[in-house]
């Protein structure tokens, strides 16, 4: 598809801003790991990782500027499939008896 007709320099600026956001989020995830948050740490870490991936997917991989439906649907679809796998796996694991 044609790249969006933006004035020169805008794309570079967007990319740099996204990169700064990614660096900040990396620092955040590093700091959170140092705090005593128990079970929440993993959830927060995954949430931050998800946000970072979202930034990469939307801005670096241009999903945000894709017009065709198929591209906007592919990633959410994969995530949904993956979620089903995870849920099924843990539905099994959580109810297994015995020490393993």
């Amino acid at each position: 598809m044609e790249p969006e007709k933006k004035p020169h320099g805008t794309e570079y600026r967007t990319y740099t801003l996204v990169w700064m956001g990614l660096v900040v989020l990396t620092g955040l995830t590093f700091s959170v790991a140092g705090m005593e948050l128990g079970g929440w740490t993993v959830l927060i870490a995954l949430a931050i990782a998800g946000t970072k991936s979202g930034l990469v997917l939307n801005y670096f991989m241009h999903l945000r500027s894709e017009r065709l439906l198929i591209f906007r649907v592919i990633i959410p679809l994969v995530m949904a499939v993956f979620l089903v796998f995870v849920l099924l796996t843990f539905a099994d694991l959580a109810f297994r008896g015995g020490a393993r």
Binding site: W19, V42, A45, A49, V56, M61, L68
Partner: protein
């Protein structure tokens, strides 16, 4: 009249370009989908074993060099920036800038692999590698952790290496003017692959280095 027919030819060319752009990109995204499921499967395995061995995983994780892992994360994030900028540069006709940015991306990728090799080397020197006696003598959860560590970071490292080779190919194509403002989809696809490699590491990093 001649101008009109040239105009029509240009339109026809544009239409063909757009169609092949879409199918090429779709092919790449489908491949990315399969890669996500490949690593996804391993992440599920990881989560199952971590669920069963939380303490062992925590102890094993503390033996990894967090600062080096963090540095590697920043390296890959920056390489994503440089490859994205490289595509923009090519689209604007700045071939030289595009090539420089590609070389930066490749250099960062190599630095990442160098760091990884250093990490692995340090572990192997301490006798921690798959099936080593020192590792097998440890708690079961720790054996699982390091098994997953080597396989997942190893497979990821292979993907980085392949990515560097692909980017090198793109570099050559730009140098030969085979890639230019009217034909840049191969570079875009190479960029997509590189961003995928970055995303996988975005998840590997907290799950291996930051277990509390």
């Amino acid at each position: 009249m001649i101008l009109r027919s040239f105009q029509k030819m240009d339109e026809a060319k544009t239409i063909v370009l757009e169609e092949s752009n879409t199918s090429a990109k779709l092919g790449m995204w489908l491949f990315i989908l399969s890669e996500l499921l490949l690593f996804g499967g391993m992440f599920i395995l990881y989560s199952a074993y971590r669920y069963k061995n939380p303490v062992d995983f925590h102890h094993a994780s503390r033996e990894l060099e967090v600062l080096l892992g963090t540095f590697n994360t920043l390296i890959l994030l920056t390489s994503s920036l440089s490859v994205a900028a490289s595509i923009s540069a090519l689209q604007r006709g700045q071939s030289k800038l595009s090539m420089v940015l590609l070389m930066v991306t490749m250099a960062l990728g190599l630095l990442f692999l160098f760091n990884k090799g250093f990490e692995w080397g340090a572990k192997i020197e301490h006798g921690i590698y798959p099936n080593s006696p020192a590792l097998l003598a440890r708690a079961k959860g720790e054996v699982l952790f390091f098994g997953l560590y080597y396989v997942m970071t190893g497979l990821h490292g292979l993907h980085v290496l392949v990515g560097i080779c692909i980017l090198c190919g793109m570099l050559i194509l730009i140098a030969k003017d085979k890639l230019n403002p009217t034909r840049f989809v191969p570079l875009e696809n190479a960029g997509l692959y590189w961003h995928l490699v970055d995303i996988i590491w975005i998840f590997l990093y907290p799950l291996f280095y930051l277990i509390t």
